[in-house]
């Protein structure tokens, strides 16, 4: 025995002249509450319209209020009364009324999909009967309700959100690509700088090499000059000697060898005035020493340097062979 007070719906029910009508009224109000895009006044008018023949004899306001509060116990009570006291014809008419109230040329809301099916189960109406009734009343098949728990439903119903998201994703992608491009450019610049530095280094090396060569040649020239001076001195002395001896003879003055020949000889590591055989021997030795194939196992750079040296040696040898 429960000591709880009578709930508002129970009071309405006790005052009602027809409990079935009151229960139906509550369930129709429940369906109406779940209809979308309808104002409260429209709901009340519609409910009064549909239930004009009911014999409940009380106000609609409280019932509508109970339906709005989603009072589960009241709805359960109404469902029990309906199930207990509804004849077959009456149950079809209740379903008819609820379908009219739920659609009225509008869309059947998702909640009402399930509520109508609940009522059909409650009133022992088979799915075929329900779909036929629905088709007759609205001219559309009932179909299965859409599923808002799926991604696809929202893609269809809220495309704005997805297009916005796609925009954002595209912007992000662009930003990332720009950053990547910038990074690549920087890397390229660094690479180029590195290469330039390498070239610089190579050039410096070559310059150093050339300078060494030059100093060697300089020394060579110095030596030649010294020798020449010595020779001249000797000649002068000889001349003086000859003059002193009284003999007036022409001096056999030999011009110094042209500069290029001296340089070519220096490349082959020979003093000026070396013989042809010396040149050939020196060339063979130098060629063996500096042949690029010897540096095959080392770096490419070494091979390149060796071939440059070899070329120089060969040029010098060729020149000497032609002119000597």
């Amino acid at each position: 025995m429960s000591m709880a007070r009578f709930s508002p719906f129970e009071l309405v029910l006790l005052k009602s002249r027809s409990q079935v009508d009151t229960a139906t009224l509550l369930l129709l109000a429940w369906v109406l509450v779940h209809r979308q895009h309808v104002s409260e006044g429209q709901r009340r008018r519609r409910l009064a319209q549909v239930t004009a023949r009911f014999r409940h004899g009380h106000e609609l306001g409280p019932v509508m209020g109970i339906a709005h509060s989603q009072d589960l116990q009241a709805i359960q009570l109404a469902a029990e009364i309906l199930r207990k006291e509804c004849s077959k014809e009456r149950s079809l008419s209740v379903l008819h009324q609820s379908i009219t109230v739920a659609t009225d040329d509008g869309e059947l809301s998702l909640a009402n999909h399930y509520i109508l099916r609940f009522l059909a189960d409650l009133l022992n109406v088979t799915p075929t009967t329900l779909s036929t009734l629905f088709y007759e009343l609205t001219g559309r098949p009932m179909g299965t309700p859409e599923d808002p728990s799926r991604h696809a439903y929202w893609q269809q119903h809220n495309p704005d959100y997805f297009s916005q998201k796609a925009h954002e994703a595209a912007a992000e992608q662009q930003a990332r690509e720009a950053a990547e491009r910038q990074a690549r450019e920087q890397a390229e610049q660094r690479e180029q700088k590195k290469k330039r530095r390498q070239q610089e280094k190579q050039r410096q090396q070559e310059q150093a090499h050339a300078r060494k060569e030059q100093t060697r040649q300089e020394r060579e020239r110095q030596r030649q000059r010294d020798e020449q001076q010595r020779r001249e001195q000797a000649q002068q002395e000889q001349a003086r000697h000859e003059r002193a001896q009284g003999g007036q003879r022409q001096s056999s003055y030999t011009p110094p060898p042209p500069d290029r020949t001296t340089r070519a000889l220096a490349v082959l590591g020979l003093p000026p005035g070396a013989s042809r055989g010396d040149v050939r021997l020196a060339y063979r030795r130098m060629a063996q020493l500096h042949h690029p194939d010897r540096f095959f196992s080392e770096s490419e750079h070494q091979v390149a340097l060796a071939s440059a040296r070899f070329q120089r040696i060969k040029n010098a040898y060729d020149y000497l062979m032609q002119t000597y």
Binding site: F6, Q76, I81, Y161
Partner: protein
């Protein structure tokens, strides 16, 4: 319509942070995508929650009315929103009990002539009060 909260083992009042965590932990990629779209966007979640509430109500009603295996209650909805039967008694029987209880009380009241009984009780109470007061006064005067 599936119950995403149940499938992610969340309560329907879960905070955004909890939902985020649950979505990240979810192994099923399809479910993860659905949950991201439906629960992580406020507008979508509101619409979903409304329907979720209604379906919970319907599931509860069906469980109490013994309709959990109805012809119209199939598929995902039936899987996710069918509650185990609770032991709530029939509301109609309860109403009838309560009405009969009220009626018997009323009848008893009428039978025992309730208003007269009330007046008699009031009179005896008042009489006892007066007697006690009188005795007190006498005692004080004697002291």
């Amino acid at each position: 319509m599936r119950d995403l909260y149940q499938r992610l083992s969340l309560s329907s009042a879960a905070s955004e942070h909890d939902i985020q965590n649950a979505v990240e932990r979810c192994q099923n990629s399809a479910l993860r995508q659905d949950a991201e779209t439906v629960l992580a966007v406020n507008a979508h979640r509101e619409a979903y929650d409304t329907l979720h509430q209604t379906l919970n109500d319907i599931g509860c009603l069906r469980a109490r009315l013994g309709l959990t295996h109805g012809a119209h209650w199939q598929g995902d909805v039936a899987n996710d929103f069918s509650l185990p039967p609770d032991h709530a008694i029939s509301r109609h029987d309860e109403l009838v009990d309560r009405v009969s209880n009220a009626v018997s009380l009323y009848n008893r009241w009428r039978r025992w002539r309730g208003p007269w009984l009330l007046v008699a009780m009031f009179a005896t109470g008042a009489g006892i009060g007066i007697v006690v007061g009188f005795a007190l006064c006498l005692g004080l005067a004697a002291g």
